[in-house]
């Protein structure tokens, strides 16, 4: 299918089905039940899953394939967001030109930063990218937001004001980012019995874009170019002595992953037209590194899983407060209830960082290949269990 082999086609179809039905899959619990706390199927979080998925897929093209560990990719995400919001401010709320410009501008920055940084390798490369990104963050956060020349609107974040020109904006179009009139916030709620599902236009736009870029990333992985990138990671010396210069390949990968980051940034602004400088900070760059490693570096689906994992914790676990805990364990006797709440309390709500940290360690200790390896082991275990049950049956039957 689409020039993919059977395994990749299956993966693509599975991912497509999962994204398409995500509003159902992520909302498994009835809306009023105590477990509804764990539902993640609301527009904002679904959009975030997908947007950060795109970001991580792109990052994986650089890091997973070439092994160049960039600590500055959040800069491109931020640049993409700023570019998109500027399009909203100056021209139109239509997301198409905004996202396209976001990709272009981010790629230009990636080209410049990659050209310089790729003169070094290993940790020296990482620190160069970190330094560039931190400089851009500092510029965006304060230097370029002074009243005389306000490019980024600093701490508050760049947003659209009523007096912005918006040259191509017409009455009748939504006053928010839209796709040819379809507002990104348009949400259709479907209630089936006790369940409630939200279908959001913005999410589906992001999901379609993610499917496209996911497909592209599979193609890149399986292409001669992808093979060259893996060769860079594997052995640069041999590559050099095979008549191939690693740098143009690495630079191309850097720009592609920068463009992915810009795309994610543009989409992020399209979902929520505000671009804050914090998304450029080193912690944000670190986050995408963690997402990729957590999911499984160099695997196709890993980064998306990693992105979902981290964003789920950030948005779901942080909201579990003591009141919610008490509600959950209300069925226990009083003393018992308090005790259970006391035990769980440090790990949820304001303690969600702690849980995340522990999980980082557990995953990397027990699943060297990240979540993908976890999935594979689970798959094998189920298979072997299925088999052993069959053999059990086979053993039992003759005995009868």
């Amino acid at each position: 299918m689409l020039g993919l082999n059977k395994k990749d086609s299956t993966l693509l179809i599975v991912v497509a089905v999962l994204t398409l039905f995500a509003p159902f899959i992520l909302n498994p619990f009835p809306a009023d039940s105590a477990l509804a706390q764990f539902n993640a199927g609301y527009p904002d979080l679904m959009q975030r899953f997908v947007v950060f998925g795109i970001f991580a897929i792109g990052f994986n093209i650089l890091f997973g394939l070439t092994g160049y560990l960039s600590f500055g990719h959040a800069a491109f995400l931020g640049i993409g967001s700023y570019a998109a919001v500027w399009v909203f401010k100056l021209f139109t709320y239509n997301v198409v030109p905004a996202v396209i410009l976001a990709v272009i501008i981010a790629s230009i920055f990636a080209l410049a930063m990659g050209y310089v940084s790729l003169r070094r390798s290993g940790i020296y490369f990482s620190i160069l990218t970190l330094a560039f990104a931190q400089m851009m963050f500092a510029l965006a956060y304060s230097v370029l937001s002074n009243p005389k020349f306000n490019l980024t609107n600093g701490e508050t974040g760049l947003q659209v004001y009523a007096d912005d020109p918006q040259m191509f904006h017409r009455a009748g179009l939504p006053d928010l980012p839209h796709l040819f009139g379809l507002s990104m916030r348009a949400t259709y709620d479907l209630d089936i019995g006790a369940w409630s599902f939200s279908f959001n236009a913005g999410y589906y736009l992001c999901a379609v874009v993610m499917m496209v870029v996911f497909y592209l990333s599979i193609r890149i992985f399986r292409s001669p170019f992808g093979m060259m990138l893996r060769a860079i990671k594997s052995n640069q010396t041999r590559l050099n002595y095979t008549g191939l210069s690693p740098r143009p390949y690495a630079l191309a990968a850097f720009v592609i992953s920068g463009a992915y980051a810009g795309l994610a940034g543009g989409l992020m602004a399209a979902m929520d037209p505000l671009a804050g400088a914090e998304r450029m900070q080193w912690t944000a760059s670190g986050e995408v590194v963690l997402m990729t490693i957590l999911g499984g570096t160099g695997t196709l689906i890993g980064p998306v899983l990693g992105a979902g994992f981290i964003k789920y914790f950030e948005n779901i676990f942080s909201k579990i407060n003591d009141a919610v805990l008490h509600q959950w364990f209300a069925f226990l006797p009083d003393g018992m209830e308090d005790f259970v709440v006391f035990i769980i309390h440090p790990f949820v709500g304001k303690g969600w960082h702690l849980t995340l940290g522990i999980l980082f360690m557990l995953v990397v200790i027990f699943l060297p290949g990240g979540l993908v390896e976890g999935g594979q082991r689970l798959g094998k275990w189920i298979k072997s269990r299925g088999k052993s049950e069959e053999t059990d049956k086979a053993k039992i039957e003759p005995a009868e």
């Binding site: 020039g3 890149i220 170019f225 093979m227 060259m228 002595y241 143009p248």
Partner: protein, 251 residues
Amino acid sequence: MGILEVKDVSKRFGGLKALSDVNLSVAENTVHAIIGPNGAGKSTLLNCFVGKLIPDTGSVMFDGQSVLGRKPYEINQMGISRVFQTPEIFGDLTVMENMMIPVFAKRDGHFQMNAIGDMMKEKDIVEAAEAMLVDMNMADKRHMHAASMSRGDKRRLEIGMCLAQEPRLLLLDEPTAGMARADTNNTIDLLKEIKDQRDITIAIIEHDMHVVFSLAERITVLAQGTPLVEDTPQNIKGHPKVREAYLGETA
């Protein structure tokens, strides 16, 4: 006029004179061995051929063109391939992919951005790589991870990868170092086969005299950064200067 002409090459590292006034000519379609005791400057000399080092003085010409100041990949594109002391292969890639990369390099030059094509559908590449695997007797290992093979197989693969580029000059840096006897003999056989079947010049740096004398047509003996003698294997064997340099015997 040889295919590789080295003229008056000198190289110092700080106070240490690694090479001094090396002159060397490798004739086309011969196997030329460079031997010498440890620290004689063999590796330094080789590194000057491939762009890893630039000599302080002198010139290195390949087929009439200077290689000095060019990047390793550019020199490779001129037609010089190099086999390393420890096999340098793409360990994370499969054997087949290892073989495809030099074929791509041969066809596309040093950079081509083919980002969404399917590499397994590049028919000419796949065929050429397959053919080379068959030549190298490795067709059955095509899906193995290169890193998981034995040392001898890695060496075989590396040589195959070099040959896949159809180089005019193949440089071998102690190709049998650290190998078991059997592997060494296999490698010798392989190189003999290559020598017989292909239009290729081979320059070999070696420690192991057994290898040298089984393969070489000309031998240059290097000692303390200068060539002592250059001659045929038969003449080298009994040469007093060589015995002195190697065994510390006085003539």
